[in-house]
Symmetry: C5
Subunit: 268 residues, 5 copies
């Protein structure tokens, strides 16, 4: 089927399911191992291309049993994989609990040439000097790499994942969308300073879902110790960008397990 | 049965279902192909008249498996088709996930003769001149065509569809329904400029649902690349008409597939 | 059983069900026709008294399959009928989708003798004149008939029905219940002018549900063309009574069908 | 089991269930009558002590089939009875629809000695006079009886019951919990005047659920004509205590029936 | 499996389930006792380490049948235990009703050295004096013990448990996260005075869930008489920290029972 490709960014699916335990219990051992093998194979094949990333999670608490995170350059292939994964289990064994549709994206608030030009001039550099040119060249390379990393992310295989969707408020008093660009950029700059403080402990993927799902962005955090999810999200809540304008949906915590470990964890 | 016809506009149903996978798995191959054939035939017959339009979609994520969009001049025939489509599958195989009832409508904010008269006079044209008369005649023809296109739309067969319902806010501070007509018209004018910028990439159908369903309007977007759903809806969020007054419901993304492709996609 | 009668007004039930299609499919033809006959008979017997009114509806979209509207002077008889109708189908075949409990009521804002007295005097009539007395007598007869019609309504058999529940806002700024009586009466007066404009196309039944169900009023509209539901509710949204204070719940559109037509429509 | 007793007040459960009709239909007549007999016996035994009160209700509309109201001095015994009642029916036949956990309580706003002292002095009585002492003594007896009636209520066997939960608002402008005691007492005083006006037609039980269930209070009204539920709740909505600060949950109307009548009503 | 340990605090799961009564009824006596024995054994083993605490509860009303509270230093072990407990019952017999994921944490508002220094100086103590040094040493020991107790709590085996989640408001007027630290500390100080008043009757565990679940904190109260849940939560509602900024979720009341008592209570 002809791919549905995006002018920019990857398609991202967060999928959360419960196991229908009655149905699973009614299967014989061969049906069970067949299901697990098909799921694993489907995931392996998916991962065999650099452009397709996939992780499996056991979910903390009773919100869902398992979660899958898929990143794909083709919406047709992604949607097909959603159904292939579900169909690798016997009909009805995977019951939808929650899902989120979004796309990786750059940020409109990344530093621009003119931001850096201002900072170089402030340091006394002459725009015609070689040093200015060299530094500006490095800046452009750095920003391009950063934008590429946001548009075409390589997700880290940390032990725990935290997902939540969010909006920027359009309240009667606090309305993000009535602020001018510079004000928003300043809010986001101090917000990202908090993020960078935790850079060693928490990696984050911010994907856009305006026009695609019920919230405007999806935030996916990766860490080895979930304590840092609590710490970073709590600290960020005091950033004005969050304090005044952040609206948050459901939070789901997943423990990153390969399929075989996942089946054991879920007592399948 | 005597048709239920509208003084103005078409009846539009957005229907979203999940497949009961257990039930489907219990069918034998003949029952399955029979169901699929009945569904296809029902859709084909529906489409055989110019006035009846229908599309099928595979839905991104776990909100629903499939969606159908129907446009009909007769509410009796539309309601009958809703039940015929569902009944073409074995009893209970299609489980309702979401639906939306609305009618195509013109906009009260379209340019009027007096708007165009003002603009022609501003260009120095004499209302009694032939040029004025000719231009005004063209304007009327153009507007009539535009209104007709809104009331009796011919939907484009783009690869992806985005549906969401919306309201205009009646908040304690921001209340659309307390604004005078000119203010609302100006808001909508700048809003539609954003829409026209994306005219080449995104087609839109706005249908009215005040008094018919839980939201005031349904917005259906059509594109070949869903990236543009994200881009246009995000950009529009900064239009004051949206920023101050837009309230949005559930977003559903459908991949436009003919029935045979749809069954394959859904692993039926 | 001793009737539960109201000091004033009728008891009104809006009942919406889905059909359990699996269960229905498992019945043999005799069981099906038996169920349909019992339902029809139950409805016929109900309607055989002037004081009991009942309508059946096929619902637009996937919110419900069918709806029934019952008007009864006795809550015991009404509640019994709710269960008799459901039990006329095989156990579990009718699955509750939504219901609304309310009572017909007059309006506290109807014109009073002193309103009319003011208007007669303004026309220069002497309260002791015969003309004044005659006109005042007619006014009282007219108002009594109006109040009777509201308390003991005879519902029209139009082709389509629209139901929605509503509240008057008790917001922090806009609070209907803190307004004085005259202000509320003026709001309602201009609201009812909009209603009368559509009198030829739309009939309405407003029932009170404060203390009986989750919303304060239920609004039931009757028309032959649902376009007018959209038109009247949209126009009314600009009346200040709605714009400032109206809060609306779920909207359900029903196509008025006699039981035999209904079963055909629902593919039973 | 050692009772869990309260320092003050009774434990109150409002329980609402639906009947699983399929399951019920699959029972043979003996199983059905056995279930009904066990339920009746359980209720009878419960009622055999003065301190345990219980009522059964058929519910108006489709929100639930039946309701039970239990008043108990021991939370262990109450919780046990909840399970005994459910278990008197075959497993799964009673499906939970809604419940509410609360405790009877006095009101902090009841008149105190110093309120009455002020009123006696205002009438010119000398605190050392015999008349003052006699009246103050009567007042204390009366208040003690009132408080006892609230803490250890004897519920009336009226024909219809209305239940709804409520909160006092903690809005950004209207915040009950930031008002001083006197202001709240005045609000409640004028609110209770409305209540007393309906004393002949409506009895009320207000139970506290702060820290026990999702709302702060449960209100249970008892009457022979549900018209008065509508009338009193509507009139109270204009009391400032409600207009500014009242937030209301789900309303459920029950028709008071003894078990045998209830089974007939529910077509069991 | 390599433990997932936290830099600070314990992982806490609140788990609430309903029993599928149909499924349970279909088991033979041996299957039932086997399930109960497996559950008990799982719990016993869990409790056999000092670092793992677990309680079972019967839930008041129809929100859930039973609840389990688990405290664990290892998220992997906790998540495994969640599944082991559920799997100790036959597949599907325990239906998820609600769960909450959080971590024990200290409070940022605990008294610091400089708070105590100020208070010692105010009493005229010289920082270089032996008395000052001794008192400061005691203070540090006391605070360290308090922080340890919060981070690594030993839960009391009281008869009743109350759980509810909460947020601090980020409203358009009242926004906790825009207050400076001192203001928040003062709010919390007067709030904790209310808490200490009830110290003899109610123990509390406050766990952090920002970034882990849908609310910011979970509050778990322990008492022998649930009257005190009502009393303390009601009184606290007037503390400005709650009145202005407290937002509360679902309240669940559990009666602390050992597994064997629990099965009896639930009529298993």
């Amino acid at each position: 089927m002809i791919p549905i490709q995006a002018a920019e960014g990857r398609f991202v699916s967060h999928l959360f399911w419960n196991i229908d335990r009655n149905l699973w219990a009614s299967l014989d051992p061969q049906q069970r191992s067949g299901a697990q093998r098909r799921f694993s194979t489907c995931l392996e094949e998916y991962r065999s291309s650099d452009n397709h990333q996939a992780f499996c999670y056991a979910i903390w608490g009773l919100k869902a049993d398992l979660g899958v995170l898929l990143v794909d350059p083709d919406l047709n292939h992604l949607n097909e994989t959603e159904h292939l994964l579900a169909a690798s289990f016997p009909a009805g064994a995977l019951e939808p609990a929650y899902s989120f549709a979004s796309m990786s994206e750059s940020s409109e608030y990344v530093s621009q040439d003119n931001d850096y030009d201002r900072s170089l001039r402030a340091k006394g550099l002459d725009p015609d000097s070689e040093e200015y040119q060299a530094k500006m060249g490095e800046f452009r390379t750095r920003m391009q790499a950063y934008i590429n990393e946001r548009l075409y992310p390589q997700l880290p295989a940390h032990r725990v994942m935290c997902f939540y969707p969010m909006n920027k408020a359009r309240g009667e008093v606090q309305n993000w969308y009535l602020l001018d660009f510079e004000t928003r950029k300043n809010y986001m700059a101090s917000h990202s300073i908090t993020g960078r403080k935790y850079g060693g402990d928490v990696k984050q993927l911010v994907t856009g879902s305006v026009g695609l799902d019920d919230w405007e962005w999806g935030v996916t955090l990766f860490a080895d110790d979930p304590f840092f999810f609590k710490k970073i999200v709590y600290e960020m809540r005091y950033d004005e960008a969050s304090a005044r304008f952040g609206e948050f949906g459901e939070f789901l915590i997943g423990i990153n397990l390969e399929p075989e470990e996942l089946w054991k964890r879920l007592q399948l």
